[in-house]
C-alpha cells in the first residue's frame, strides 16, 4: 500500500505524541516509569531492590495482576464485578471446607471450588443480561451474599472463621502444587552459591538463598496476562468483547452474541478470583472469612490506571497489568521507604482520580467528541 497515493489534505497529520496518547497503555507505562524512578531515588538503600525486596513487591503485584486481568476484560465488555473480593474469601473457604473439614482429596476440593465459583460468575452474568440491571447493583448483592456464606459456613461447620491445615491436607496432592509450589529452586540455590543473591547466614536455613524459587502465583499472573492480551487483541472473541462494551445494540445488529460474551466474561472474572484464592490458601495454609476484602476495588483501580474506560469498550490487558504493578510497587515501596502505610490510601485515591480524568480526555481524543 503506497502512502503517498492516499494523502488527503483534509486529514490532519497526527503527531507521534498524539498517536502515542491514544494507546490505552500509555498511562500505565508513564506511571510505571515514574514509580520506579521515585523509589530508585528515595528507597534504593532500603532493601527494596535486592532479591528479597524484588520478590516481595513482585508477589504483591502478581496478586493484583491475576484479578486485574479478569476485571479488565469484563470492564471492556461493559460490566463490573464487585463480588471479586467476596469470591476470593468464599473460594478459599470452600477449599478449606472440602479439603480439611470434609477431608476430600485436595484436587477434588480445588476442582469443585472452581466449578462452584465459575457457576456464581455465570449467575451474575445471567442476571445482568436477562434483567438489564446495572452489573454494579447485581454484583453488589453477590458481594454480600458470598461474604455472608463465607462467614456462616465455617461457623456452622467448625465453630470458627479461620480454618487451617490446608498445607498438610495438600501434601502429596497432584493438583495443589500447580497453585502452591515454587519453581526454579536449583537456579536460585546456584545464584545464592555464586553470591548473586543473598543467603541466610544463621539459623536452620543457613546457606539457603533468601529467595528459594518463583511462586506459581507469579506464573499464573504472567500466563493470565498473556492469555488475556492475546484473547483481546488477536482473536475474533476479542473483537466481540470490545463490541459488547462499546455499544451492545450495534454489536447485536451485526450478529455479535453480546449476552454470551458478557456471561463468559463474568465467568472468567470468577475464574481469576478463584485462582487468586487457591494460590493464597496454599501459601498461607489456612482460609479466613475476611480474605479478599476490598479486592474488587483494587482490581478496578488497577484496570483504570491501566487506561480502560469505566464505560466499557476500550482498554488493554497490558495496561491493567502495569496498573497492578504500580499498585504493588507503591504499596510495598512505601513500607520500604518507611512512609506511614495509611498514606498509601491517599496515594491510591489521588492516582485513581488522575487516571479517570486522563482516560476521559483520551476518550475525547479518540472519538473526536467535544
Amino acid at each position: 500500500m503506497s502512502d503517498a497515493a492516499i494523502n488527503d489534505e483534509r486529514i490532519k497529520e497526527m503527531s507521534p505524541l498524539r498517536r502515542a496518547l491514544i494507546r490505552p497503555e500509555l498511562g500505565g507505562m508513564v506511571g510505571t516509569v515514574a514509580v520506579f524512578t521515585f523509589f530508585l531515588l528515595f528507597a534504593f538503600d532500603s532493601g527494596m531492590f535486592n532479591a528479597q525486596g524484588v520478590m516481595n513487591w513482585s508477589v504483591v503485584s502478581a496478586q493484583f495482576m491475576i484479578i486485574a486481568v479478569g476485571a479488565c476484560l469484563l470492564m471492556i465488555a461493559g460490566e463490573f464485578d464487585l463480588s471479586v473480593g467476596s469470591m476470593i474469601g468464599f473460594a478459599g473457604m470452600m477449599i478449606a471446607i472440602f479439603g480439611v473439614t470434609l477431608g476430600w482429596p485436595m484436587w477434588l476440593a480445588i476442582v469443585t471450588t472452581f466449578a462452584i465459583c465459575i457457576a456464581f460468575g455465570a449467575l451474575n452474568g445471567y442476571i445482568v443480561v436477562r434483567t438489564g440491571l446495572p452489573s454494579f447493583i447485581v454484583t453488589l448483592a453477590t458481594l454480600f451474599i458470598l461474604r455472608g456464606f463465607t462467614i456462616f459456613i465455617p461457623q456452622t461447620a467448625e465453630r470458627k472463621t479461620i480454618i487451617g491445615g490446608i498445607r498438610e491436607a495438600a501434601e502429596g496432592d497432584w493438583l495443589a502444587p500447580l497453585f502452591g509450589a515454587k519453581i526454579g529452586g536449583p537456579i536460585f540455590q546456584w545464584l545464592g552459591d555464586m553470591g548473586v543473591i543473598g543467603v541466610f547466614t544463621r539459623g536452620n536455613r543457613a546457606g539457603e538463598p533468601v529467595v528459594d524459587g518463583i511462586p506459581m502465583l507469579m506464573i499464573w499472573a504472567i500466563a493470565l496476562v498473556i492469555f488475556g492480551h492475546v484473547l483481546l487483541t488477536r482473536t475474533r472473541f476479542g473483537n466481540w468483547i470490545f463490541a459488547a462494551g462499546g455499544d451492545a445494540q450495534a454489536a447485536r445488529y451485526t450478529g455479535v452474541p453480546v449476552d454470551r460474551v458478557k456471561i463468559q466474561m463474568f465467568m472468567f472474572t470468577a475464574f481469576c478470583a478463584t485462582v487468586f484464592a487457591v494460590c493464597q490458601v496454599m501459601e498461607f495454609g489456612s482460609a479466613g472469612a475476611d480474605r479478599g476484602l476490598l479486592k474488587e476495588f483494587e482490581a478496578i483501580i488497577a484496570v483504570v490506571i491501566g487506561g480502560a474506560l469505566l464505560t466499557g469498550g476500550y482498554g488493554s490487558v497490558i495496561g491493567a497489568a502495569l496498573g497492578a504493578l504500580i499498585f504493588g510497587v507503591v504499596q510495598q515501596g512505601l513500607f520500604f521507604a518507611n512512609v506511614e502505610s495509611s498514606l498509601f490510601r491517599v496515594f491510591l485515591g489521588v492516582i485513581l482520580l488522575l487516571a479517570v480524568i486522563l482516560n476521559t480526555y483520551i476518550r475525547r481524543l479518540i472519538t473526536g467528541e467535544r
Binding site: M1, I6, N7, D8, I11, M14, I22, R234, T235, R236, G238, N239, W240, F242, A243, G246, D247, Q249, A250, A251, Y253, T254, G255, V256, L309, G313, Y314, R363, I366, T367, G368, E369
Partner: protein, 258 residues
C-alpha cells in the same frame, strides 16, 4: 428484467393499528429505488418487513423468483438483504477495520489456534474505503473520528463487501450537511453501478431526485404507485407524500421552499 425482490399487497397490523394496508413494490438489480413518505407513512415498518424484523400479516414476498419467509434478520442478511439503519451499528471507540468486520471477523489459523486476521482485515478495509472515495488515515483510525457521512459510507461499504444484493438505506441523509449528503449520494450511485439494488428511504424529495431511478410513495400505509425518473416532477412527488390536500395551500404561503 426480473425484479430481485417483489413485494405484493403487504399488510402489517400491530393489534388494532394497521401500519401497512397493502404495499406493492418491485425492486430491480442495479436500480436505486426511492421509497418516499412522510413521518408515519409506514416507511420504517415496510423496510423492517423487507429485512426480516417483522413478519407481514398478509401479502407475498418473492425474492429471486422464490416465495420467501424470513424467520429473523439474520435470514435476510444471509439471503443478501442488508439494512443500514440510521444508527449505523458502528462503535465509535473501535477502529474502522474492527468495525468493518464486526461479527464477521476473518480468521487465520496458526498452530491450530484461530486468530483474528488483522492484516487481511486492514487491507480489505483500506481498499473498500478507497473504492468509495474515502481516504483513511489508517485502518486503525477510530470510527469516532469520522464524519457522519463517512460513517454512513463505512456502513454501506461493509454491507456491500459482505455480499448484499439488496441494500436498504434508512434515511441515510437525514442528519447530514450538504457536502456530506453529496458524498453519501455519490456512494449510493457507485453501489448501484455494481449491480446492487438500492432501496433508499427518505422524505427529502431533492435527495431522492438526485439518485433515484424509480420512486414509490407511501402514504398512510399504502403505496400510491411507482413513478419512473423523468416522468414525475419534484412537486408532484411532494404532493403525493403529503396526501395532496393541505400541501397546496401551505406551499403557496411558503413560496415553494419546502
Amino acid at each position: 428484467m426480473e425484479p430481485i425482490i417483489r413485494m405484493t399487497n403487504i399488510e402489517k397490523h400491530f393489534g388494532s393499528v394497521i401500519a401497512l394496508a397493502g404495499v406493492t413494490v418491485e425492486i430491480f438489480p442495479g436500480e436505486c429505488h426511492c421509497l418516499l413518505g412522510d413521518n408515519g407513512a409506514g416507511k420504517s415498518t415496510f423496510i423492517k418487513t423487507m429485512s426480516g424484523v417483522h413478519k407481514p400479516t398478509a401479502g407475498e414476498i418473492i425474492f429471486e423468483g422464490q416465495p420467501l419467509q424470513f424467520a429473523d434478520p439474520r435470514d435476510a442478511i444471509s439471503a443478501g438483504i442488508a439494512t443500514v439503519y440510521q444508527d449505523l451499528a458502528m462503535i465509535p471507540l473501535m477502529s474502522v477495520s474492527r468495525n468493518f468486520f464486526m461479527g464477521n471477523e476473518p480468521i487465520r489459523k496458526r498452530a491450530g489456534l484461530r486468530f483474528f486476521d488483522h492484516d487481511y482485515a486492514n487491507e480489505v478495509t483500506m481498499t473498500e474505503m478507497r473504492k468509495m472515495g474515502i481516504n483513511l488515515r489508517g485502518p486503525d483510525q477510530a470510527v469516532g473520528t469520522l464524519s457522519g457521512g463517512e460513517r454512513q459510507t463505512v456502513a454501506i461499504a461493509r454491507a456491500v463487501h459482505f455480499g448484499a444484493k439488496v441494500l436498504i438505506l434508512d434515511e441515510p441523509t437525514s442528519a447530514l450537511g450538504v457536502r456530506q449528503t453529496a458524498n453519501v449520494l455519490a456512494t449510493v450511485d457507485k453501489v448501484r453501478k455494481q449491480g446492487i439494488a438500492v432501496v433508499f428511504i427518505t422524505h427529502n424529495v431533492r435527495h431522492a431526485m438526485a439518485v433515484g431511478d424509480r420512486f414509490t410513495v407511501l402514504n398512510r400505509g399504502k403505496t400510491l404507485g411507482t413513478a419512473v425518473r423523468g416522468e414525475i416532477t419534484p412537486e408532484e412527488l411532494q404532493d403525493m407524500m403529503a396526501g395532496g390536500q393541505e400541501m397546496a395551500t401551505l406551499e403557496g404561503s411558503l413560496g415553494g421552499t419546502v
